[in-house]
């Protein structure tokens, strides 16, 4: 065969690690386009990146298109029920082979010259094939496939052929993922729609936010005023010593906001169910025993914590928060609402109403978050000699026996964990 099918892209240099020092960060991390480019190479194509939840692809042929870093990919289930993550890029001239966000298909066909691919990415056909005799072998040209790992229904993909197993990468976070899924109250978790919005700021500003309890009562004052006293009380973690932040290794971290809802299977019966859910309790009581009604209603707000998985997905209360770096100063966020697969409709609807209340471009929470993040991006341009501080709580951080660093939920332990991973990956 004559034509080279492989070539060597440029290699980014490795001089960026010094920009993160212990608990201070150079603001260039938010503003320098070159750093952004290197992050896409050294982080987003080297580690496990979350791409979808299995409930989004229940049947063979189901797919959704998304991104790994800046690269468009398709997550698809084939006829043998294997999940593939394929580059959304025809092997001929590079056109995308799928422009739909989600759907069901028998394969993917490039609209430019009709090269067609199976659900597993294999090149099935190309028109007027005589021009390719002795030039290419079809079997050499499947859609490029990424490595795929699935844990607890969470689908991750990686460009890195040498990457460690997904379970090793998740490490101490696995325990918290398992706890998070208990909000299904015995039913599997399913996605039930999503809000998408973008903000003019760097992706790490949102990465930091998920386990930043310090901002909550300040930024979300109007949200707290709009919920009833019981919900407000539930979120009174600012002064609760049992409310902690924990580093989990590999950039992951967790922030516990409602300690009594960390393990939703544990119920000592003392918690009063919220009055606002009286109509749900009444409806559920017709079909379910009292213990199951309690279990479902206690789970309506989701898990009592925010889990941040480096680099792009958070499992937050009752939703997934997925970030997509678009440019150094632009990030897209998806807030994926969760429900109970096969669970009672009235409870799933209540969960959607709770989601609408806080999340998305019209929510009572997200717009204020986005406003704060855009202000960080704008202010960070003021100069590189004044670092960004992520040092809150250094005076009271302690190390658990399993190696996790632990501090109060308003402390910046989670951000320090994320930046330690950033530094490690950018140093390679």
């Amino acid at each position: 065969m004559n034509a080279p099918l492989r070539f060597h892209p440029r290699t980014p240099d490795s001089s960026y690690a010094d920009l993160v020092q212990d608990a201070v960060v150079d603001p260039a991390l938010y503003t320098d386009p070159q750093i952004f480019d290197v992050e896409m190479d050294k982080i987003f194509t080297k580690t496990w990146v979350w791409v979808a939840h299995v409930s989004e692809l229940p049947k063979p042929g189901d797919f959704r298109s998304t991104f790994v870093g800046r690269n468009p990919v398709i997550v698809v289930r084939d006829r043998q029920n294997n999940i593939h993550v394929l580059e959304n890029r025809c092997r001929h001239r590079g056109a995308t082979v799928c422009e739909k966000t989600k759907g069901n298909t028998t394969g993917f066909t490039c609209p430019y010259h009709s090269w067609s691919y199976g659900l597993d990415g294999k090149l099935r056909g190309l028109p007027y094939a005589d021009g390719y005799e002795d030039v290419i072998e079809k079997s050499d040209l499947p859609l490029k496939a990424l490595k795929v790992g699935v844990y607890a229904g969470m689908i991750f993909a990686s460009y890195n052929e040498e990457i460690e197993p997904l379970e090793d990468f998740l490490g101490n976070a696995k325990h918290w993922i398992d706890l998070f899924m208990k909000q299904g109250a015995g039913f599997p978790i399913k996605t039930q729609g999503e809000h998408k919005f973008s903000f003019k700021g760097n992706w790490k500003i949102q990465l930091e936010n998920t386990t930043d309890g310090y901002h909550f009562p300040v930024v979300h004052k109007t949200f707290l005023q709009s919920v009833d006293a019981e919900t407000s009380e539930m979120l009174s973690f600012m002064t609760d010593e049992a409310s902690i932040t924990r580093s989990l290794g590999n950039g992951h971290s967790v922030m516990v906001m409602v300690p009594e809802h960390v393990d939703l299977d544990v119920d000592d019966g003392t918690e009063q169910l919220q009055e606002r859910f009286a109509h749900v309790i009444e409806a559920l009581s017709k079909d379910y025993p009292p213990e199951q009604v309690r279990r479902i209603v206690r789970s309506l707000h989701g898990a009592g914590f925010n889990l941040n998985l480096f680099p792009n997905v958070a499992m937050s209360m009752s939703f997934f928060r997925v970030l997509r770096p678009v440019a150094v100063d632009e990030t897209e966020i998806r807030h994926v609402a969760l429900g109970m697969d096969g669970g009672p409709e009235i409870a799933n609807r209540e969960r959607m109403r709770i989601h609408e209340h806080f999340q998305g471009p019209f929510g009572f929470g997200s717009p204020d978050d986005a406003e704060a993040w855009e202000r960080v991006q704008a202010g960070a341009r003021a100069g590189r000699d004044v670092p960004i501080l992520v040092n809150r709580g250094l005076n009271r951080e302690w190390q658990d026996q399993n190696g996790d660093k632990v501090s109060h939920s308003t402390d910046e332990t989670g951000m320090r964990e994320a930046y330690a991973m950033w530094k490690r990956m950018m140093s390679k």
């Binding site: 729609g193 998408k196 109007t222 709009s226 609807r349 717009p367 204020d368 978050d369």
Partner: protein
Amino acid sequence: MTNLNIPAADPSTALGRAIEFIWQEAALLDRKDYEAWGALWADDGHYIVPIDPDTTDFEATLNYAYDDARMRRLRIERFASGFSMSAADSATTVRTVSRFALANMDGDEVEVHSAQLLAAYKRGTTTLFAGNLTHRVRFTAEGPKLVQKVIRLVNSQDALNALGFLL
């Protein structure tokens, strides 16, 4: 023969009265006079911004907004409180509502379809929000009341910028 020169807001017709009401609503929203806007609503009214362009069962679907009387009141309080930084520093908006069509008439209620173009200006950036509107207006002894407003943005399934104002 169809008379194409009917004034858009002819107060002698139900459609004309509804159009006047819709324009009044648009003006209140551009002025951010949310208290007065809240008074336009019937107690059983719903303000809805769907994500799914095809859905009609809004309750069974995740929306951007699905506000009943309680949520509208909370939203108005939020906008008025001064504590929401996205609302306190929200974009300046100018909207036009046009291409009216009477979709349904049932007793005292009319359903009117229209098109809305809204330009939102904030910190050097002007963003266009284009959408199809459905208003359901009930004519009562106290004047017209809004029973339902649905805003179907043309880009509802895309990523939007966070909004500190109402469509």
